[in-house]
Protein backbone atom coordinates (compact mmCIF):
# COMPACT_ATOMS: atom_id res chain seq x y z
CA UNK A 1 0.00 0.00 0.00
CA UNK A 2 1.37 3.38 -0.94
CA UNK A 3 1.70 5.93 1.85
CA UNK A 4 -1.38 8.12 2.01
CA UNK A 5 0.27 10.76 4.10
CA UNK A 6 3.11 13.26 4.03
CA UNK A 7 5.61 13.70 6.81
CA UNK A 8 7.92 16.65 7.35
CA UNK A 9 10.83 16.98 9.73
CA UNK A 10 10.41 20.73 10.26
CA UNK A 11 8.21 23.68 9.31
CA UNK A 12 10.95 24.89 6.97
CA UNK A 13 10.55 21.75 4.89
CA UNK A 14 6.77 22.03 4.58
CA UNK A 15 5.10 23.42 1.46
CA UNK A 16 3.64 26.89 1.96
CA UNK A 17 0.07 25.65 2.49
CA UNK A 18 0.94 23.23 5.29
CA UNK A 19 3.10 25.59 7.33
CA UNK A 20 1.70 26.76 10.66
CA UNK A 21 0.43 30.34 10.81
CA UNK A 22 3.31 31.46 13.04
CA UNK A 23 5.71 30.52 10.24
CA UNK A 24 3.55 32.39 7.70
CA UNK A 25 3.68 35.41 10.05
CA UNK A 26 7.47 35.20 10.11
CA UNK A 27 7.64 34.88 6.30
CA UNK A 28 5.39 37.91 5.78
CA UNK A 29 7.34 39.99 8.29
CA UNK A 30 10.69 39.08 6.74
CA UNK A 31 9.39 39.89 3.27
CA UNK A 32 9.78 36.33 1.94
CA UNK A 33 6.18 36.35 0.79
CA UNK A 34 3.34 38.84 0.53
CA UNK A 35 -0.23 38.40 1.76
CA UNK A 36 -1.67 38.58 -1.79
CA UNK A 37 0.68 35.75 -2.86
CA UNK A 38 -0.46 33.64 0.08
CA UNK A 39 -4.16 34.25 -0.43
CA UNK A 40 -3.87 33.52 -4.17
CA UNK A 41 -2.11 30.23 -3.36
CA UNK A 42 -4.65 29.20 -0.73
CA UNK A 43 -7.73 30.15 -2.73
CA UNK A 44 -6.24 28.39 -5.77
CA UNK A 45 -5.82 25.23 -3.68
CA UNK A 46 -9.34 25.52 -2.30
CA UNK A 47 -10.68 25.66 -5.87
CA UNK A 48 -8.51 22.76 -7.00
CA UNK A 49 -9.73 20.66 -4.08
CA UNK A 50 -13.39 21.62 -4.40
CA UNK A 51 -14.16 17.87 -4.43
CA UNK A 52 -13.42 17.72 -0.69
CA UNK A 53 -16.45 20.00 -0.23
CA UNK A 54 -14.79 21.83 2.66
CA UNK A 55 -16.23 25.18 1.58
CA UNK A 56 -19.82 26.21 0.95
CA UNK A 57 -18.59 29.58 -0.30
CA UNK A 58 -15.21 31.07 -1.10
CA UNK A 59 -14.66 34.76 -0.51
CA UNK A 60 -12.23 36.29 -2.99
CA UNK A 61 -10.21 39.09 -1.39
CA UNK A 62 -11.75 41.71 -3.68
CA UNK A 63 -15.21 40.10 -3.43
CA UNK A 64 -18.35 41.20 -1.65
CA UNK A 65 -17.31 39.84 1.72
CA UNK A 66 -16.14 43.19 2.95
CA UNK A 67 -12.77 41.70 3.79
CA UNK A 68 -10.16 44.09 5.00
CA UNK A 69 -6.91 44.16 3.06
CA UNK A 70 -5.61 41.88 5.77
CA UNK A 71 -4.25 44.82 7.67
CA UNK A 72 -1.03 43.91 5.98
CA UNK A 73 -0.14 47.33 4.69
CA UNK A 74 3.31 48.57 5.63
CA UNK A 75 3.67 49.35 9.30
CA UNK A 76 0.64 47.29 10.26
CA UNK A 77 2.12 43.87 9.73
CA UNK A 78 2.99 42.96 13.30
CA UNK A 79 -0.41 41.56 14.20
CA UNK A 80 -0.23 37.77 14.24
CA UNK A 81 -3.13 37.12 11.86
CA UNK A 82 -2.60 40.09 9.52
CA UNK A 83 -2.87 38.82 5.96
CA UNK A 84 -3.26 35.16 6.99
CA UNK A 85 -6.09 33.23 5.25
CA UNK A 86 -8.67 31.79 7.66
CA UNK A 87 -12.07 30.11 7.24
CA UNK A 88 -15.33 30.20 9.20
CA UNK A 89 -17.93 27.55 9.85
CA UNK A 90 -21.11 28.47 8.02
CA UNK A 91 -23.10 29.05 11.23
CA UNK A 92 -21.05 32.17 11.97
CA UNK A 93 -22.62 35.35 10.61
CA UNK A 94 -20.61 37.41 8.13
CA UNK A 95 -22.29 40.60 6.99
CA UNK A 96 -23.25 40.40 3.35
CA UNK A 97 -22.07 36.79 2.91
CA UNK A 98 -24.49 33.87 2.66
CA UNK A 99 -24.61 32.04 6.00
CA UNK A 100 -26.63 28.83 5.77
CA UNK A 101 -25.75 26.71 8.83
CA UNK A 102 -25.77 23.84 6.33
CA UNK A 103 -29.55 24.07 6.06
CA UNK A 104 -31.98 24.46 3.21
CA UNK A 105 -34.11 26.65 5.48
CA UNK A 106 -31.30 29.26 5.40
CA UNK A 107 -30.06 28.58 1.85
CA UNK A 108 -30.42 32.24 0.90
CA UNK A 109 -29.80 33.83 4.27
CA UNK A 110 -27.51 36.87 4.16
CA UNK A 111 -26.75 38.31 7.62
CA UNK A 112 -26.90 42.04 8.11
CA UNK A 113 -24.20 42.04 10.78
CA UNK A 114 -20.88 40.41 11.64
CA UNK A 115 -20.55 37.94 14.48
CA UNK A 116 -18.30 39.27 17.26
CA UNK A 117 -15.60 36.70 16.34
CA UNK A 118 -15.69 37.99 12.76
CA UNK A 119 -15.30 41.57 13.95
CA UNK A 120 -12.36 40.47 16.12
CA UNK A 121 -10.71 38.53 13.27
CA UNK A 122 -11.08 41.54 10.98
CA UNK A 123 -9.51 43.75 13.66
CA UNK A 124 -6.68 41.22 13.86
CA UNK A 125 -6.25 41.59 10.10
CA UNK A 126 -7.10 37.99 9.19
CA UNK A 127 -8.21 37.33 5.64
CA UNK A 128 -11.50 35.40 5.62
CA UNK A 129 -11.33 33.13 2.57
CA UNK A 130 -14.50 31.11 2.94
CA UNK A 131 -17.44 29.62 4.79
CA UNK A 132 -17.08 25.95 5.62
CA UNK A 133 -19.46 23.02 5.35
CA UNK A 134 -21.16 21.55 8.41
CA UNK A 135 -23.88 19.24 9.60
CA UNK A 136 -27.17 21.11 9.43
CA UNK A 137 -27.44 23.45 12.45
CA UNK A 138 -24.31 21.74 13.85
CA UNK A 139 -26.29 18.55 14.51
CA UNK A 140 -24.17 15.59 13.54
CA UNK A 141 -20.78 13.94 13.76
CA UNK A 142 -19.93 13.42 10.09
CA UNK A 143 -21.16 16.34 7.89
CA UNK A 144 -23.52 13.81 6.29
CA UNK A 145 -26.38 15.98 7.59
CA UNK A 146 -25.36 19.00 5.50
CA UNK A 147 -28.05 20.03 3.03
CA UNK A 148 -25.19 20.69 0.59
CA UNK A 149 -23.53 17.26 0.61
CA UNK A 150 -20.87 15.88 2.96
CA UNK A 151 -17.24 16.99 3.19
CA UNK A 152 -14.60 14.31 2.53
CA UNK A 153 -11.80 13.32 4.86
CA UNK A 154 -8.57 14.37 3.08
CA UNK A 155 -6.76 11.30 4.50
CA UNK A 156 -9.24 8.95 2.82
CA UNK A 157 -12.09 10.39 0.79
CA UNK A 158 -14.27 7.32 1.40
CA UNK A 159 -14.40 8.33 5.07
CA UNK A 160 -16.17 11.11 6.96
CA UNK A 161 -14.17 14.08 8.25
CA UNK A 162 -16.24 14.07 11.45
CA UNK A 163 -18.62 16.81 12.41
CA UNK A 164 -20.34 18.95 12.84
CA UNK A 165 -17.50 21.40 11.99
CA UNK A 166 -16.21 18.96 9.35
CA UNK A 167 -15.57 21.56 6.66
CA UNK A 168 -13.37 23.64 8.97
CA UNK A 169 -11.35 20.55 9.91
CA UNK A 170 -10.93 19.61 6.24
CA UNK A 171 -9.86 23.17 5.34
CA UNK A 172 -7.04 23.15 7.90
CA UNK A 173 -6.09 19.51 7.17
CA UNK A 174 -5.96 20.01 3.39
CA UNK A 175 -3.97 23.24 3.39
CA UNK A 176 -6.81 25.51 2.30
CA UNK A 177 -6.85 27.66 5.47
CA UNK A 178 -4.26 28.26 8.18
CA UNK A 179 -6.92 28.51 10.85
CA UNK A 180 -10.64 27.89 10.83
CA UNK A 181 -13.33 28.57 13.38
CA UNK A 182 -15.90 25.98 14.28
CA UNK A 183 -18.47 25.58 17.01
CA UNK A 184 -18.49 22.83 19.61
CA UNK A 185 -21.72 21.84 21.35
CA UNK A 186 -20.83 18.22 22.13
CA UNK A 187 -17.51 17.73 20.38
CA UNK A 188 -18.15 19.36 17.02
CA UNK A 189 -14.65 20.88 16.93
CA UNK A 190 -12.60 18.23 18.75
CA UNK A 191 -14.07 15.18 17.01
CA UNK A 192 -13.44 16.35 13.39
CA UNK A 193 -10.02 17.71 14.46
CA UNK A 194 -9.14 14.21 15.71
CA UNK A 195 -10.49 12.49 12.59
CA UNK A 196 -8.64 14.88 10.26
CA UNK A 197 -5.34 15.05 12.19
CA UNK A 198 -5.34 18.72 13.19
CA UNK A 199 -5.69 20.63 16.47
CA UNK A 200 -9.16 21.69 17.57
CA UNK A 201 -10.21 23.37 20.77
CA UNK A 202 -13.35 24.13 22.72
CA UNK A 203 -12.53 26.97 25.11
CA UNK A 204 -14.22 27.45 28.49
CA UNK A 205 -17.90 28.28 28.07
CA UNK A 206 -18.23 32.06 28.00
CA UNK A 207 -14.69 32.87 26.93
CA UNK A 208 -15.64 33.43 23.27
CA UNK A 209 -18.70 35.51 22.40
CA UNK A 210 -21.56 33.59 20.79
CA UNK A 211 -23.03 36.77 19.26
CA UNK A 212 -23.62 35.97 15.61
CA UNK A 213 -23.34 32.20 16.05
CA UNK A 214 -26.54 30.54 14.86
CA UNK A 215 -27.70 28.88 18.08
CA UNK A 216 -28.05 25.12 18.53
CA UNK A 217 -27.96 24.53 22.31
CA UNK A 218 -27.15 27.79 24.05
CA UNK A 219 -25.85 26.40 27.37
CA UNK A 220 -23.38 24.16 25.50
CA UNK A 221 -22.39 26.00 22.28
CA UNK A 222 -18.91 27.49 22.16
CA UNK A 223 -16.89 28.82 19.21
CA UNK A 224 -13.30 27.62 18.92
CA UNK A 225 -10.42 27.29 16.44
CA UNK A 226 -8.86 24.57 14.30
CA UNK A 227 -5.10 25.01 13.81
CA UNK A 228 -1.95 23.12 12.83
CA UNK A 229 -0.34 23.34 16.26
CA UNK A 230 -0.73 24.53 19.85
CA UNK A 231 1.11 27.82 19.26
CA UNK A 232 -1.30 28.81 16.50
CA UNK A 233 -4.13 27.77 18.83
CA UNK A 234 -2.88 30.22 21.47
CA UNK A 235 -2.70 32.99 18.86
CA UNK A 236 -6.20 32.16 17.60
CA UNK A 237 -7.64 32.32 21.12
CA UNK A 238 -5.83 35.62 21.70
CA UNK A 239 -7.68 36.96 18.67
CA UNK A 240 -11.20 35.75 19.50
CA UNK A 241 -11.53 35.58 23.31
CA UNK A 242 -12.81 38.43 25.43
CA UNK A 243 -15.90 39.89 27.03
CA UNK A 244 -18.74 40.95 24.76
CA UNK A 245 -21.70 42.94 26.07
CA UNK A 246 -23.73 41.46 23.20
CA UNK A 247 -23.55 37.96 24.73
CA UNK A 248 -24.96 37.87 28.26
CA UNK A 249 -23.18 34.56 28.95
CA UNK A 250 -19.83 36.05 27.94
CA UNK A 251 -17.26 35.99 30.75
CA UNK A 252 -15.97 39.33 32.00
CA UNK A 253 -12.65 37.84 33.11
CA UNK A 254 -9.90 39.66 31.25
CA UNK A 255 -8.60 37.42 28.45
CA UNK A 256 -5.06 36.24 29.11
CA UNK A 257 -2.36 36.79 26.53
CA UNK A 258 -1.74 33.17 25.59
CA UNK A 259 0.74 33.16 22.71
CA UNK A 260 3.80 34.42 24.58
CA UNK A 261 2.85 32.44 27.69
CA UNK A 262 2.58 29.22 25.69
CA UNK A 263 5.68 29.88 23.60
CA UNK A 264 7.74 30.54 26.72
CA UNK A 265 6.08 27.84 28.85
CA UNK A 266 8.34 26.02 31.27
CA UNK A 267 7.40 22.43 30.49
CA UNK A 268 5.21 19.90 32.23
CA UNK A 269 7.53 18.85 35.06
CA UNK A 270 5.47 18.27 38.18
CA UNK A 271 2.19 18.51 36.27
CA UNK A 272 -0.39 15.93 37.36
CA UNK A 273 -2.27 14.38 34.46
CA UNK A 274 -5.38 12.36 35.25
CA UNK A 275 -6.48 9.27 33.37
CA UNK A 276 -9.89 7.63 33.63
CA UNK A 277 -9.48 3.86 33.21
CA UNK A 278 -12.96 3.45 31.64
CA UNK A 279 -11.81 5.64 28.73
CA UNK A 280 -9.68 2.73 27.53
CA UNK A 281 -12.31 0.05 27.97
CA UNK A 282 -14.88 -1.77 25.93
CA UNK A 283 -15.94 -0.16 22.67
CA UNK A 284 -12.70 1.77 22.22
CA UNK A 285 -10.59 0.74 19.25
CA UNK A 286 -7.29 -0.89 20.28
CA UNK A 287 -5.26 1.30 17.90
CA UNK A 288 -6.75 4.43 19.49
CA UNK A 289 -6.05 3.13 23.02
CA UNK A 290 -2.47 2.36 22.06
CA UNK A 291 -1.75 5.81 20.59
CA UNK A 292 -3.36 7.64 23.52
CA UNK A 293 -1.56 5.51 26.12
CA UNK A 294 1.70 6.17 24.26
CA UNK A 295 0.97 9.91 24.52
CA UNK A 296 0.45 9.52 28.28
CA UNK A 297 3.79 7.69 28.50
CA UNK A 298 5.40 10.54 26.56
CA UNK A 299 4.06 13.06 29.08
CA UNK A 300 5.55 10.93 31.87
CA UNK A 301 8.89 10.96 30.09
CA UNK A 302 8.63 14.75 29.88
CA UNK A 303 8.29 14.92 33.67
CA UNK A 304 4.53 14.84 34.29
CA UNK A 305 2.94 12.43 36.73
CA UNK A 306 0.06 10.24 35.61
CA UNK A 307 -2.62 9.77 38.23
CA UNK A 308 -5.84 7.80 38.15
CA UNK A 309 -9.03 9.86 38.47
CA UNK A 310 -12.70 8.93 38.45
CA UNK A 311 -15.61 10.48 36.59
CA UNK A 312 -18.37 8.19 37.89
CA UNK A 313 -21.22 9.94 36.06
CA UNK A 314 -19.49 10.09 32.68
CA UNK A 315 -21.45 7.08 31.48
CA UNK A 316 -24.65 9.13 31.70
CA UNK A 317 -23.23 11.89 29.52
CA UNK A 318 -24.92 10.73 26.28
CA UNK A 319 -28.49 10.71 27.69
CA UNK A 320 -27.90 13.95 29.62
CA UNK A 321 -26.43 15.67 26.59
CA UNK A 322 -28.98 14.51 24.03
CA UNK A 323 -31.89 15.53 26.28
CA UNK A 324 -30.51 18.98 27.17
CA UNK A 325 -29.15 19.75 23.69
CA UNK A 326 -32.33 18.70 21.87
CA UNK A 327 -34.55 20.54 24.36
CA UNK A 328 -32.58 23.75 23.86
CA UNK A 329 -32.50 23.17 20.09
CA UNK A 330 -36.26 22.69 19.87
CA UNK A 331 -36.63 26.11 21.45
CA UNK A 332 -33.83 27.84 19.49
CA UNK A 333 -35.03 26.52 16.14
CA UNK A 334 -38.58 27.75 16.70
CA UNK A 335 -37.47 31.01 15.07
CA UNK A 336 -37.23 29.35 11.65
CA UNK A 337 -40.86 29.70 10.65
CA UNK A 338 -40.82 31.02 7.11
CA UNK A 339 -41.53 34.61 8.21
CA UNK A 340 -38.38 36.51 9.14
CA UNK A 341 -35.67 34.96 7.01
CA UNK A 342 -34.79 32.11 4.77
CA UNK A 343 -37.01 29.62 3.05
CA UNK A 344 -40.83 29.53 2.98
CA UNK A 345 -42.78 26.57 1.57
CA UNK A 346 -44.34 27.56 -1.75
CA UNK A 347 -47.80 26.13 -1.09
CA UNK A 348 -50.03 26.27 1.99
CA UNK A 349 -53.65 26.94 2.92
CA UNK A 350 -53.22 28.95 6.11
CA UNK A 351 -50.68 30.25 8.60
CA UNK A 352 -50.29 27.01 10.55
CA UNK A 353 -49.81 25.01 7.39
CA UNK A 354 -47.25 27.57 6.21
CA UNK A 355 -45.24 27.01 9.42
CA UNK A 356 -45.55 23.23 9.30
CA UNK A 357 -44.70 22.81 5.62
CA UNK A 358 -41.86 25.34 5.77
CA UNK A 359 -40.27 23.48 8.67
CA UNK A 360 -40.90 20.09 7.07
CA UNK A 361 -39.35 21.06 3.74
CA UNK A 362 -36.67 23.35 5.17
CA UNK A 363 -35.19 21.06 7.85
CA UNK A 364 -33.38 17.77 7.19
CA UNK A 365 -34.15 14.45 8.88
CA UNK A 366 -31.72 14.72 11.81
CA UNK A 367 -32.80 18.26 12.69
CA UNK A 368 -36.46 17.22 12.65
CA UNK A 369 -35.67 14.14 14.75
CA UNK A 370 -33.92 16.32 17.35
CA UNK A 371 -36.70 18.92 17.38
CA UNK A 372 -39.21 16.11 18.04
CA UNK A 373 -37.03 14.55 20.76
CA UNK A 374 -36.43 17.93 22.43
CA UNK A 375 -40.08 18.94 22.24
CA UNK A 376 -41.00 15.58 23.78
CA UNK A 377 -38.47 16.01 26.62
CA UNK A 378 -39.94 19.44 27.42
CA UNK A 379 -43.60 18.51 27.01
CA UNK A 380 -46.08 18.32 29.83
CA UNK A 381 -45.87 15.00 31.67
CA UNK A 382 -42.32 14.20 30.52
CA UNK A 383 -40.43 17.33 31.64
CA UNK A 384 -39.51 15.97 35.10
CA UNK A 385 -38.65 12.46 33.92
CA UNK A 386 -36.37 13.61 31.10
CA UNK A 387 -35.32 17.25 30.96
CA UNK A 388 -35.15 17.99 34.69
CA UNK A 389 -33.48 14.66 35.46
CA UNK A 390 -30.88 15.45 32.79
CA UNK A 391 -30.24 18.89 34.33
CA UNK A 392 -29.68 17.29 37.74
CA UNK A 393 -27.38 14.63 36.30
CA UNK A 394 -25.50 17.47 34.57
CA UNK A 395 -24.81 18.91 38.04
CA UNK A 396 -23.32 15.53 39.04
CA UNK A 397 -21.09 15.51 35.96
CA UNK A 398 -19.83 19.01 36.82
CA UNK A 399 -19.16 17.94 40.42
CA UNK A 400 -17.19 14.92 39.16
CA UNK A 401 -14.88 17.20 37.20
CA UNK A 402 -14.36 19.54 40.14
CA UNK A 403 -13.38 16.55 42.28
CA UNK A 404 -11.09 15.19 39.54
CA UNK A 405 -9.37 18.57 39.10
CA UNK A 406 -8.65 18.49 42.83
CA UNK A 407 -6.36 15.55 42.10
CA UNK A 408 -5.09 16.33 38.61
CA UNK A 409 -4.22 19.48 36.66
CA UNK A 410 -5.31 18.02 33.33
CA UNK A 411 -7.30 15.00 32.21
CA UNK A 412 -6.00 12.99 29.26
CA UNK A 413 -8.27 10.76 27.15
CA UNK A 414 -9.06 9.67 23.62
CA UNK A 415 -11.18 12.14 21.60
CA UNK A 416 -13.13 9.45 19.78
CA UNK A 417 -13.59 5.69 20.29
CA UNK A 418 -12.30 5.01 16.73
CA UNK A 419 -10.72 6.71 13.73
CA UNK A 420 -12.83 8.14 10.87
CA UNK A 421 -15.68 5.88 9.78
CA UNK A 422 -17.00 5.26 6.27
CA UNK A 423 -19.80 7.30 4.73
CA UNK A 424 -23.20 5.77 5.47
CA UNK A 425 -21.85 3.53 8.21
CA UNK A 426 -23.84 5.17 11.01
CA UNK A 427 -26.58 7.14 9.26
CA UNK A 428 -29.33 4.57 9.88
CA UNK A 429 -28.71 4.31 13.61
CA UNK A 430 -28.85 7.65 15.49
CA UNK A 431 -27.57 6.11 18.75
CA UNK A 432 -24.46 4.66 17.04
CA UNK A 433 -23.76 8.13 15.62
CA UNK A 434 -24.34 9.79 19.01
CA UNK A 435 -21.89 7.35 20.66
CA UNK A 436 -19.03 8.84 18.61
CA UNK A 437 -19.36 11.87 20.95
CA UNK A 438 -18.92 9.82 24.13
CA UNK A 439 -15.56 11.33 25.14
CA UNK A 440 -16.22 14.91 24.06
CA UNK A 441 -19.67 15.84 25.37
CA UNK A 442 -18.78 15.86 29.07
CA UNK A 443 -16.56 18.93 28.59
CA UNK A 444 -19.57 20.81 27.17
CA UNK A 445 -21.83 19.67 30.00
CA UNK A 446 -19.18 20.77 32.53
CA UNK A 447 -18.37 24.01 30.58
CA UNK A 448 -14.61 23.27 30.78
CA UNK A 449 -11.96 23.77 28.06
CA UNK A 450 -10.66 20.79 26.08
CA UNK A 451 -8.33 20.38 23.13
CA UNK A 452 -7.77 17.64 20.56
CA UNK A 453 -4.24 17.29 19.20
CA UNK A 454 -2.84 14.65 16.83
CA UNK A 455 -1.12 11.74 18.60
CA UNK A 456 -0.30 9.36 15.77
CA UNK A 457 -1.93 7.16 13.16
CA UNK A 458 -3.87 3.93 13.40
CA UNK A 459 -4.46 2.03 10.17
CA UNK A 460 -3.17 5.10 8.30
CA UNK A 461 -5.80 7.39 9.85
CA UNK A 462 -5.20 10.10 12.47
CA UNK A 463 -5.90 9.57 16.17
CA UNK A 464 -6.70 12.48 18.48
CA UNK A 465 -5.50 13.05 22.02
CA UNK A 466 -7.84 15.01 24.27
CA UNK A 467 -6.57 17.15 27.12
CA UNK A 468 -9.09 18.92 29.32
CA UNK A 469 -8.60 21.36 32.15
CA UNK A 470 -10.63 23.24 34.73
CA UNK A 471 -12.50 26.46 33.92
CA UNK A 472 -10.33 29.14 32.29
CA UNK A 473 -7.15 27.03 32.48
CA UNK A 474 -6.50 27.49 28.74
CA UNK A 475 -2.93 28.57 29.37
CA UNK A 476 -2.05 25.40 31.27
CA UNK A 477 -3.80 23.28 28.63
CA UNK A 478 -1.98 24.90 25.72
CA UNK A 479 1.38 24.89 27.47
CA UNK A 480 1.05 21.12 27.92
CA UNK A 481 -0.06 20.65 24.30
CA UNK A 482 2.82 22.78 23.03
CA UNK A 483 5.34 20.92 25.19
CA UNK A 484 4.01 17.62 23.79
CA UNK A 485 4.46 18.93 20.25
CA UNK A 486 8.00 20.06 21.05
CA UNK A 487 8.84 16.47 22.02
CA UNK A 488 6.86 14.62 19.33
CA UNK A 489 6.23 14.88 15.59
CA UNK A 490 2.58 13.75 15.25
CA UNK A 491 1.52 17.25 14.20
CA UNK A 492 3.98 17.13 11.28
CA UNK A 493 1.99 14.44 9.44
CA UNK A 494 -0.39 15.63 6.74
CA UNK A 495 -2.92 14.16 4.38
CA UNK A 496 -1.46 13.76 0.89
CA UNK A 497 -3.59 16.43 -0.79
CA UNK A 498 -2.27 17.72 -4.11
Amino acid sequence: MSEKFLKYSSVKEMPLHYKPAHEIRRMIDSGEISPPEISAHIIGRAKKNAGLNAFLALIEPEGTGGNSDGGAAAGESKKFWAGVPVALKDNIAVKGVKTTAGSKILENHIPIYDATVVKKLREAGALIVGKTNMDEFAMGSSTENSAFGPSKNPWDITRVPGGSSGGSAVAVASGTAYMALGSDTGGSIRQPAALCGVCGMKPTYGSVSRYGLIAFASSLDQIGPFTRDALDMAAALDAICGHDPKDSTSSDRPAASLFEAVKNGSGVKGLKIGIVEEHFGEGVDSGVCERVRAAAAEFEKMGATIVSVKLPHAKYAIPVYYLIATAEASSNLARFDGVKYGFRAPEFKNLKEMYMKTRDQGFGAEVKRRIILGTYALSSGYYDAYYKTAQKARTRIKEDYQAAFGQADLILSPVTPATAFKFGEKTADPLAMYMSDIFTISANLASIPAISIPCGLSGGMPVGLQLSANYFQEKLLLQAAHEFQKHTDHHLYFAAVE
Binding site: Y113, V339, R359
Partner: protein, 97 residues
Protein backbone atom coordinates in the same frame (compact mmCIF):
# COMPACT_ATOMS: atom_id res chain seq x y z
CA UNK B 1 -42.70 2.69 22.91
CA UNK B 2 -43.65 6.12 21.57
CA UNK B 3 -46.58 5.53 19.22
CA UNK B 4 -47.02 7.14 15.82
CA UNK B 5 -49.95 9.05 17.30
CA UNK B 6 -47.71 10.44 20.04
CA UNK B 7 -45.10 11.46 17.42
CA UNK B 8 -47.89 13.21 15.49
CA UNK B 9 -48.99 15.07 18.64
CA UNK B 10 -45.42 16.19 19.41
CA UNK B 11 -44.77 17.18 15.77
CA UNK B 12 -47.87 19.33 15.98
CA UNK B 13 -46.53 21.04 19.10
CA UNK B 14 -43.20 21.58 17.33
CA UNK B 15 -44.98 22.82 14.17
CA UNK B 16 -43.28 20.33 11.87
CA UNK B 17 -45.25 18.37 9.32
CA UNK B 18 -44.06 14.77 9.02
CA UNK B 19 -44.79 12.16 6.36
CA UNK B 20 -46.22 8.80 7.42
CA UNK B 21 -42.81 7.20 6.75
CA UNK B 22 -41.06 9.76 8.97
CA UNK B 23 -43.62 9.19 11.73
CA UNK B 24 -42.97 5.43 11.68
CA UNK B 25 -39.20 5.92 11.56
CA UNK B 26 -39.12 8.49 14.36
CA UNK B 27 -41.44 6.37 16.49
CA UNK B 28 -38.95 3.48 16.38
CA UNK B 29 -35.78 5.63 16.64
CA UNK B 30 -36.97 7.95 19.40
CA UNK B 31 -38.34 5.00 21.38
CA UNK B 32 -34.98 3.28 21.27
CA UNK B 33 -33.17 6.50 22.23
CA UNK B 34 -35.50 7.04 25.19
CA UNK B 35 -35.03 3.41 26.28
CA UNK B 36 -31.29 4.05 26.34
CA UNK B 37 -31.74 7.41 28.08
CA UNK B 38 -33.79 5.83 30.88
CA UNK B 39 -30.55 4.53 32.42
CA UNK B 40 -30.47 7.96 34.10
CA UNK B 41 -33.25 6.69 36.35
CA UNK B 42 -30.80 4.51 38.28
CA UNK B 43 -29.18 7.70 39.63
CA UNK B 44 -30.12 8.99 43.07
CA UNK B 45 -30.69 12.65 42.34
CA UNK B 46 -32.69 13.56 45.44
CA UNK B 47 -31.72 17.04 46.60
CA UNK B 48 -29.46 17.73 43.59
CA UNK B 49 -29.86 21.21 42.12
CA UNK B 50 -30.52 21.15 38.37
CA UNK B 51 -27.92 22.99 36.24
CA UNK B 52 -29.98 25.79 34.74
CA UNK B 53 -27.04 27.91 33.60
CA UNK B 54 -23.77 26.77 32.10
CA UNK B 55 -21.38 28.74 34.28
CA UNK B 56 -22.78 31.92 35.79
CA UNK B 57 -26.36 32.82 36.50
CA UNK B 58 -26.02 36.54 37.13
CA UNK B 59 -28.36 38.95 35.47
CA UNK B 60 -26.58 41.16 32.99
CA UNK B 61 -27.86 44.70 32.99
CA UNK B 62 -26.94 47.70 30.90
CA UNK B 63 -27.89 51.36 30.86
CA UNK B 64 -31.13 52.09 29.06
CA UNK B 65 -29.52 53.98 26.23
CA UNK B 66 -30.51 54.16 22.60
CA UNK B 67 -28.02 52.63 20.18
CA UNK B 68 -27.87 52.52 16.41
CA UNK B 69 -29.86 49.72 14.77
CA UNK B 70 -29.69 48.44 11.20
CA UNK B 71 -33.01 49.95 10.14
CA UNK B 72 -36.29 48.46 9.03
CA UNK B 73 -35.56 47.84 5.37
CA UNK B 74 -32.26 46.04 6.12
CA UNK B 75 -33.91 43.85 8.75
CA UNK B 76 -36.75 42.68 6.52
CA UNK B 77 -34.65 42.40 3.35
CA UNK B 78 -33.99 38.69 3.92
CA UNK B 79 -37.62 37.74 4.56
CA UNK B 80 -39.43 35.52 2.04
CA UNK B 81 -42.42 37.89 1.70
CA UNK B 82 -42.60 41.60 2.55
CA UNK B 83 -44.38 44.72 1.33
CA UNK B 84 -41.18 46.71 1.73
CA UNK B 85 -42.10 47.82 5.26
CA UNK B 86 -43.44 44.73 7.03
CA UNK B 87 -43.32 40.93 6.94
CA UNK B 88 -46.25 39.43 5.06
CA UNK B 89 -47.93 36.30 6.41
CA UNK B 90 -51.20 34.49 5.65
CA UNK B 91 -54.23 35.84 7.55
CA UNK B 92 -53.97 34.97 11.23
CA UNK B 93 -57.65 35.39 12.13
CA UNK B 94 -59.54 33.12 9.81
CA UNK B 95 -63.15 33.64 8.81
CA UNK B 96 -65.62 30.91 9.78
CA UNK B 97 -66.39 28.49 7.02
Amino acid sequence: MISKEEITRIANLAMVELTETEKSEYSVQISSLLDYFRQMQELDLAGVEPTNHALVADNVLRKDEAAASPGQSAVIAGAPDTDGKSYCVPAIIETEE
